[in-house]
């Protein structure tokens, strides 16, 4: 009990096409993350599922039953808003009790449910305060408690951690994962933070300009991006993309470099391609048979690692290296490439050409 299926959602605001045929199938009990940059239509998708947005086309099915025309109340969902939307005139207790009051639970039921929630989220001592007297983190917990106090079909969360500072965000990430496990409920979680998406999700749907780019597990999305855009959006530092074309058993770069052609690629000779290389699949320290030469462009020490920018021709490669690595800009160096983990994309369509061979 808790599947959410959105099919062919379309919605425009004036001339802006916010949703352009979004289809998502959220399995029961999963932590389903909708990831995308701002303006991708993530929040609109969530609001459409909640029944807060009237759709131009498409359907929303909850537990297999068509709920497209249902009121938000009838859908039996709970939602955490990015702004938290706590009722300013009500105490924390009343805020948390609101979903139960709306559904006419008895006073004793409400009292025990609110107590359970305040224990779970450690907000017992805040119950008599009003939202204006809470910190951002406390508001966030109260908003979460208000959503979790009932057992709805599914929980919808609209960037609930975005307004928190980094430390709190990391803490709440673990806590949300724990809560999800203990409830076994369906979570549909919207975020623009890929770290959140990759660390929390069972499944990720990546949205761009109102269209779903790819749906899969975090590993699938990271390891086998469906297209160039997904490859570039997921992963930090971002994947390096080099223009090239296949010639016989070699890949020839725009800047003149060559690499052995990976056996799995199906691209015919002469087709314009993009070679995608992730920073961790490149090395400036080992020497393998597949390597590119370039010059050191810059160093980005990040504490646990250093990202080395290497200029190959006119393009920049981001290479992950040990934190101890040193060098001076302009220095010539070789970058060894793990071609088994490289990605190839059609330069025209952006679609991955790696899938077929693996």
């Amino acid at each position: 009990m808790g599947t959410v299926a959105a099919h062919g959602l379309r919605k425009s605001f004036g001339k802006v096409q916010a949703l352009d045929g979004v289809t998502l199938d959220v399995p029961d009990g999963s932590f389903f993350v909708v990831l995308g940059p701002s303006g991708a239509g993530k929040t609109t998708t969530l609001r459409a599922i909640a029944g807060l947005e009237k759709l131009d086309a498409g359907s929303v099915r909850l537990d297999g039953r068509d709920a497209t025309g249902d009121s938000p109340a009838a859908r039996d969902l709970a939602m955490v808003f990015q702004s938290y939307a706590l009722y300013p005139r009500h105490t924390v207790y009343e805020n948390i009790a609101s979903p139960l009051r709306a559904r006419r639970s008895s006073a004793s039921e409400i009292a025990s449910a609110v107590e359970r929630m305040s224990n779970l989220l450690h907000i017992e001592r805040l119950l008599q305060r009003r939202p204006a007297q809470l910190s951002g983190g406390e508001m966030q917990r109260v908003a979460l408690a208000r959503a979790l106090v009932r057992r709805p079909r599914a929980f919808l969360m609209d960037e609930p951690l975005t307004n928190l500072d980094l430390k709190l965000r990391v803490e709440m990430r673990t806590e949300l994962t724990r809560i999800h496990r203990s409830l076994g409920a369906t979570f549909v979680y919207v975020t623009n933070d890929q770290v959140e998406a990759l660390s929390m999700a069972d499944q990720v749907a990546i949205l761009k300009e109102g269209k779903v780019q790819q749906v899969g597990t975090p590993t699938e999305v990271y390891e086998r991006p469906a297209n160039q855009w997904v490859a570039g959006f997921v992963g930090s530092p971002p994947i390096s993309l080099l223009a090239c074309r296949a010639e016989g058993d070699r890949l020839v770069g725009a800047g003149g470099w060559t690499l052995p052609r990976p056996r799995w690629t199906t691209a015919e000779d002469g087709r314009a391609l993009l070679l995608g290389l992730r920073a961790e699949d490149l090395s400036v320290e080992q020497r393998g048979d597949a390597s590119l030469s370039g010059e050191l462009y810059g160093l980005e020490p990040l504490g646990d690692r250093t990202v080395v920018d290497v200029r190959v021709g006119t393009e920049i490669l981001k290479v992950k290296a040990r934190p101890t690595v040193t060098g001076t800009p302009g220095e010539q160096l070789h970058v060894s490439v793990d071609l088994g983990r490289a990605h190839l994309f059609d330069a025209g369509t952006g679609l991955s050409l790696s899938e077929a061979g693996r």
């Binding site: 938000p72 969902l77 808003f81 702004s83 938290y84 939307a85 009722y87 300013p88 005139r89 939202p131």
Partner: protein, 303 residues
Amino acid sequence: MAVSVDEAVSTGSARDHTPPARRLGGRGRSVLEVALLTVLAVVMLFPVLWMIETSIKENRDVYAIPAKFFDFTITLDHYKDVFVAPDGGRSALSVSFLNSVVVAGVSTVLATVLGVPAAWAYSRFAVKAKKDQLFFILSTRFMPPVVVVIPIFLMYRQVGLIDNKLGLILIYAAFNVPFTIWMMKGFVDEVPAEYEDAAMLDGYTRLQAFRRFTLPLLVPGIAATAVFALIFSWNEFVFATFLTSSDSVRTAPPAIAGLIGGTTTDWGLVAASSVVFALPVLVFAYLVRKHLIAGVTLGAVRR
């Protein structure tokens, strides 16, 4: 670091030097300000003061030449005359005051009851040609009452609303609804729609969400808007003059104006009834002054 400390110190001392200079300039300006404000206050308040004085003077002091400012006998006879007729019954003026209360009160309630939900709808929903509709609503206020009073008189004659309190109530409400919609739309825009969204997910209907969560936040705005609507209806003169004729229907403004003229004018009575007329609005505005100046309190949304 040292440099920044030095900078901080120097700016600090510079600041220490500026206030005396400013205070001097400030004192000069404030003297001028006080002088101008005093002149303005005298000009503005003298008629009010004179009205109050006249209302408590005996008739011979009222007409005395030269005018008496301080040494006159105080009497409350004029106030008695406002409410009590010479034969001991209710005076025509007291009836007109009651009419004013009824007409202004009911028309304000009507305008608020119609205008607030309309403002909410215009603020929250995608309405076709919203801007055009709002402009049209506002445009009904463009014309001064004198311009429309003749057509309205003719229409009212057809439907029997001439010399009828309901007629005045309807026309005042019609004039106040656009004002209420425009003013309240601003207040509703200030309240995040997400409270209602959250309430609907909690299980409330849209109307319940509005009534339970948005409406309480609008109370200050409603109070402010209603006071303005009330003042308009209370003070309105043109429609009241044209659309009513009998003492039993007439509101206070034309009734007071009717005291002036004829063979003699009882200025004491005019002044006393004017004071009585001015008081309710002043008291009401004073009671809701907090709501008039305080904006809508918003709490729980991080922006």
